[in-house]
């Protein structure tokens, strides 16, 4: 590959598989973290998934795209459904190509004596610890330092599925317009997983919230505001 564009040009631009993003021979003594969609080949880092290239300080690069399928990535927080319980692991479905394993001890203060009991079909908020291609991903219900940090079983609410792009938008900061508008009038709680699953909980308006979020997939900020206004007016 002759042309090696400098990284600054490609960040936040659409890239396709095959594009070379970084030339490592020119960067020495640096640690670079590669997220999803990028692969290192000898001295260059190339793209293996089409999407937008993102960079976050100090040294993390990844490719973002929106699909219905989720590709597990380390350090992603996702919503999983318990499929089975085995001696060492819970089998958890995170909407990826394979079932993920959640070790029974991966909870805060988890020992062999107090293994939690989840029934089949329970919804968990978990973090991806290992995600190598071809292997079943591994999950954990603690954050990096071992604390519970809100991970674990989600008791109530209604779960629905969206695309990965929409869930990323819901998690972005500043708050995405849909959530902002809805929050002005209603009170609700949502748990968003990067695998496209969202669990919404509210005493009375779950259906409204879930439909508003699902409809905001392809709308711009202004359109989202208008859509939410119309929905809220209808129930008044």
């Amino acid at each position: 590959m002759e042309a090696k564009p400098s990284t600054a040009n490609l960040v936040d631009k659409i890239v396709v598989p095959g594009d070379v993003v970084l030339d490592l021979s020119s960067m020495t003594n640096q640690t670079i973290k590669l997220g999803g969609g990028l692969r290192q080949e000898c001295d260059s880092v190339s793209v293996i998934k089409a999407g937008k290239l993102r960079f976050s300080k100090p040294n993390k690069y990844w490719v973002e795209s929106s699909q219905k399928r989720y590709v597990p990535c380390v350090e992603d927080t996702v919503l999983g459904i318990v499929v089975d319980c085995k001696a060492d692991n819970f089998f958890v479905d995170i909407r990826g190509p394979t079932i993920a394993f959640l070790p029974v001890l991966a909870f805060e203060g988890g020992t062999r004596r107090n293994i939690p009991k989840f029934e089949i079909g329970s919804l968990l908020y978990v973090r991806v610890v290992k995600a190598n291609p071809g292997m079943n991903p591994e999950l954990s219900c603690t954050d990096a330092s071992g604390k519970a940090a809100e991970f674990g079983l989600l008791k109530d609410g209604y779960m629905f599925e969206t695309s990965t792009g929409l869930s990323r938008m819901l998690l972005s900061s500043p708050t995405c317009p849909v959530l902002e508008e809805l929050g002005k009038q209603l009170s609700f709680e949502i748990a968003v997983g990067l695998n496209g699953r969202v669990n919404a909980e509210s005493p009375s308006t779950v259906v409204l919230v879930s439909n508003a979020i699902m409809n905001s997939e392809s709308l711009s900020a202004v359109q989202q505001k208008i859509m939410v206004d119309k929905l809220l007016q209808r129930i008044k």
Binding site: D93, P97, I99, S122, L123, D156, Y158, N199, V207, S210
Partner: protein, 465 residues
């Protein structure tokens, strides 16, 4: 195996609990009423007898085809109807290729029972030669997307494609009238099936608490519900079939309530199907006429095609029926088969001036033989003159087409008429505008601006019930 495990759709405990609690306060997750259907859209393909139905997220295609076969021994006078379903794996991760699952067989059976036992499709009219040859109608239903309630959508797809299916016309010929000639569509207009009424399937879902009832369950609701029932009724209020495959028991009063609800839904859906079929038929007729190459603008009036697009099918035919008295009837041109005729017609029509133009004409009447003639290779003008003169007295009627098959008595007419008269009274399709090609100077006088053509009163289209 692992991928299948990963791909299966699962219901969470949260969802199950939520759907049930929401239903007890009358709220459904997509915001519908408990007794409300999702948005129904019916589309048709280019070919006759193919339909595509979308009921919310559920997406089903139906195809109807016909074949000539030997009848069953115990029913030598009746045609056959068979239904095949294809549950494509792209519709749902739980569908697999190969042997149909129990629910696939059940779906086929429900649709089949609704059509066969209620005798909605008239099988006796499908007989060509008693004991030897009958039409076997085959309905193929392809499930493209499973968003819940496949039965209802499949039923609608089957009905829509049956209503728009056209089978080739057959006549007996040869020696002893024992040889069956199947006429290609260019020669003779294919005929619709005779359908007496439309049986509509309405599915109900029962939930664990008593008296929780929904109509048209979505995929999620189907996973949560504990029992279901499908009632097939028609718009007249006749119950054609009821299917309740196990599940929770329900009270007799609940069943009666369901039947009452179902009859209301059935009339709504029947109306929607009929409207869609009618627009399709109008479009089909217009398509035929658009293909007609001649659009005479000699009198400077608006181009044929524009005129055709304005009025609806009904208006067109009403105008025709109003203005015609006796004119040899020539049905709408299926031009593909008669290029020679077209050329002839064209040249002749250009001689006409405004003879074939009507005020606000919605169809162009060009003198010439109909393209449905068996003699469509080209007719010489002298022959035409003679025949037209005799034709004028013989066949004054232009038959209007009706899906309930009034064609049958009409079709026998051409056979009866003397051999040298061109059987131009082939049937016309519903709401079709007649394109008349008269190539003769002799017609010119007859074909004045006030076209007097006698027509049967145009009966309302697509009234199959």
């Amino acid at each position: 195996m692992d991928t299948r495990l990963a791909n299966t759709w699962r219901l969470t405990v949260n969802e199950k609990r939520f759907i049930e609690t929401a239903l007890s306060s009358g709220i459904r997750i997509d915001g519908r009423n408990p007794f409300e259907y999702r948005k129904l859209s019916i589309k048709f393909g280019r070919e006759d007898g193919s339909s595509e139905v979308q009921l919310g997220q559920t997406h089903i295609m139906g195809f109807v085809t016909g074949q000539l076969v030997q009848p069953y021994r115990d029913r030598p006078n009746e045609g056959t109807l068979s239904i095949f379903t294809e549950f494509s794996p792209m519709a749902d991760p739980s569908f697999e290729t190969g042997r149909p699952s129990e629910s696939a067989v059940e779906l086929g059976r429900i649709v089949d029972r609704g059509l066969r036992e209620s005798r909605a499709v008239d099988t006796e009219s499908l007989c060509v030669l008693a004991g030897k040859l009958v039409w076997a109608i085959r309905i193929d239903l392809h499930i493209l997307d499973n968003g819940g309630n496949l039965v209802d959508a499949a039923n609608i797809a089957a009905l829509a494609s049956l209503l728009t299916f056209r089978r080739p016309e057959c006549s007996l010929g040869g020696e002893d009238d024992l040889e069956v000639i199947v006429h290609p569509p260019e020669e003779r207009e294919p005929l619709p099936l005779i359908i007496h009424h439309l049986p509509i399937a309405v599915t109900f879902g029962f939930f664990s608490s008593e008296s929780l009832l929904v109509i048209d369950p979505t995929h999620h609701e189907e996973a949560v519900m504990v029992g279901k029932m499908t009632a097939t009724l028609n718009a007249n209020g006749d119950v054609c079939a009821i299917q309740k495959p196990g599940g929770e028991g329900v009270l007799q009063s609940v069943i009666m309530q369901c039947l009452r609800l179902a009859s209301r839904m059935a009339s709504d859906i029947t109306k929607k199907i009929k409207d869609a079929v009618e627009t399709y038929n109008t479009e089909r007729a217009l398509r035929k006429i658009k293909r007609h190459p001649t659009s005479i603008t000699l009198d400077g009036s608006v181009n044929l095609k524009e005129k055709l697009n304005e009025p609806s099918g009904h208006n067109v035919v009403n105008e025709l029926s109003r203005k015609h008295l006796e004119k040899p009837r020539l049905a709408s041109a299926e031009n593909a088969s008669s290029p020679g005729n077209n050329g002839e017609g064209e040249s002749k029509s250009s001689n006409f001036g405004r003879s074939s133009r009507r005020d606000g004409a919605t169809s162009n009447f060009v003198g010439g033989a109909a393209s449905w003639d068996p003699y469509s290779r080209g007719v010489d003008s002298d022959f035409l003159k003679a025949s037209l003169a005799s034709r004028g007295t013989l066949t004054p009627k232009k038959k209007q087409q009706d899906p309930t098959g009034e064609r049958k008595p009409n079709e026998s007419k051409p056979e009866e008429s003397p051999g040298d008269v061109i059987p131009t009274t082939s049937a016309m399709d519903v709401s079709e505008t007649g394109v008349h090609k008269g190539g003769e100077k002799t017609l010119k006088d007859a074909v004045k601006p006030k076209h007097k053509r006698k027509k049967k009163a145009f009966s309302s289209t697509a009234d199959a019930s």
